[in-house]
Amino acid sequence: MSSGHPFLRKVFFLLIVRPIMALVMGMNVRHRERLPSTGPAVICANHNSHFDTLALMALFPLADLPKVRAVAAADHFMKDNATGWIARNLIGILPIVRGGTKGNSDPLEPLAEALAQDMILIVYPEGTRGEPEQRGALKKGISWLSQRLPEVPVIPVFLHGLGTVLPRGAFVPVPYFCDVVIGEPLGAHQSREATMAALEDAITTLAGETPFQPWD
């Protein structure tokens, strides 16, 4: 699976995404130095908005963009519409099939392949944007991946505010400062349940590092 048009992608991030992130929105990034500069690595973030991926990818140097791939639902982004076109060509998503194993195909196999090619993957273990600015339950696929590839660092990230900028179902973004808090890589864990608990705890701890008011 190609990662879209490499040149168009750089132009898109340089001229559109970065100015929007810097001026219209504004990002408070904590622990930027913890962002991996080389793959393989998996970034696990909470998910509230289509802008989550743009915000996370905008943190990487333009030269590194080709190796950063956001894992996204095939049923949503492989459609033949504007969102799908942008996702495939400008963002260069890595599509996976949602809804678990069907037949013999392993839905997470494309992730393992990409990691074997030293990619940095952006994964949203909640599996959906859900209710804006509310954290959903994490799906366990990521723990399967980390058991299979224990040497690949899993980096937890907490995002806040992007669900206010552009929640699910909204079309007009609203200017709002967003927070990105990057964590230390998760350690090794015996069981899949322990890995998931550690990830959940890590994201909760990161959320505590940034003060924000309730949105209700």
Partner: protein, 318 residues
């Protein structure tokens, strides 16, 4: 106007002197850092930010009236965005915030047109109607009063109050009773406001560090002292009296009085933001300006000084 012409105009000369003062401060802080003083790193970050702000103001004033108005509209936008990101807001009001943001271009266009009668009531009266009207259309009544009051407070502080600094730039077009020398009063008065407001912040900080004994507001901002406050008032009044003959039509006495008045309200602007931050349980309003915090941390005193300076100037001189 050529660059040389700009440099030799009263505004340009003032900027050159200001740049020299910043240069001396930078060298002094550099010496402190070389001597291993612990606060030097923080001060260096602060002076770096002052340089950036100085560059923005110098470029804006070189462009002229439009440059200054666009710069302040941008400041209003960044400040309002910071404010909306700090306060509790309601889900239902997501698009209401867009209506509030829309007040920024409208207000600055009204200011640019020199329409005092309408720009002075647009936010206090018409945005006071527009924001709740947008909320009523959304139909959410839970927390209605808190939401409409907090949003309007942000508009008043970040757009209406700050906009008065831009309104100074439009004084250019007015004839001046004291016409002995050729000064574009708009840009000059704007620069005087920024210098006095910034100088007061620095003077209060420095004299507080040097002579601070008695806490003046222990519950709101424990670092503020009576000595720091008095130092700020004296330094700002003296600086105002020195700048007045060069850049304003003010008499020396009026200039000293306006300097002292700016120092006093600037102090309360600073404390007001401190109280707001304490209420919200945060230390800084953001991370945009290294050493200072967010935009609101920097403009807190300007929110109070800009309207007072504008109205005193307008009432007594134009």
């Amino acid at each position: 106007m050529t660059i040389a012409g700009y440099a030799f105009s009263p505004v340009g000369t003032t900027l050159v002197v200001l740049g020299a003062v910043l240069g001396v401060a930078t060298v002094l802080i550099g010496a402190m850092r070389a001597a291993g003083k612990p606060q030097a790193g923080e001060l260096m970050a602060r002076i770096g930010t002052w340089w950036v702000l100085f560059a923005f103001v110098a470029i804006a004033l070189a462009i002229g009236r439009t440059g200054g108005i666009v710069l302040l509209a941008l400041v209003s936008f960044l400040a309002l965005k910071e404010y909306f990101s700090l306060i509790p807001t309601r889900r239902a009001d997501r698009l209401v915030l867009l209506v509030a943001y829309l007040a920024i271009p409208i207000q600055y266009v009204l200011i640019d047109h020199g329409q005092y009668g309408i720009f002075i009531v647009f936010i206090p009266v018409y945005m006071l109607m527009a924001v709740p009207a947008a909320m009523v259309i959304r139909g959410e009544t839970d927390g209605f009063l808190r939401a409409t009051a907090t949003i309007h407070w942000g508009l008043m502080a970040c757009v209406f109050a700050v906009g008065h600094a831009a309104a100074l730039l439009t004084i250019d077009d007015k004839s001046v009773s004291n016409g002995e020398f050729d000064v574009r009063y708009g840009a000059a008065l704007f620069l005087v406001l920024l210098i006095l407001t910034g100088l007061n912040d620095v003077a209060q900080y420095v004299s507080g560090k040097l002579f601070g004994q008695t806490r003046i507001s222990p519950t709101v901002s424990p670092n503020k002292t009576r000595e720091g406050f008095i130092g700020g008032v004296i330094v700002t009044a003296v600086a105002s009296a020195i700048l007045a003959p060069l850049l304003t039509p003010f008499s020396i006495g009026f200039a000293a009085a306006i300097g002292a008045a700016l120092a006093i309200v600037g102090f309360f602007g600073d404390l007001t933001l401190s109280a707001l931050k304490r209420d919200l349980g945060i230390k800084d309003t953001g991370t945009m300006l290294p050493g200072h915090g967010g935009i609101l941390d920097r403009i807190d005193s300007l929110v109070f000084t800009a309207p007072l300076f504008f109205h005193l100037t307008r009432y007594f001189y134009f």
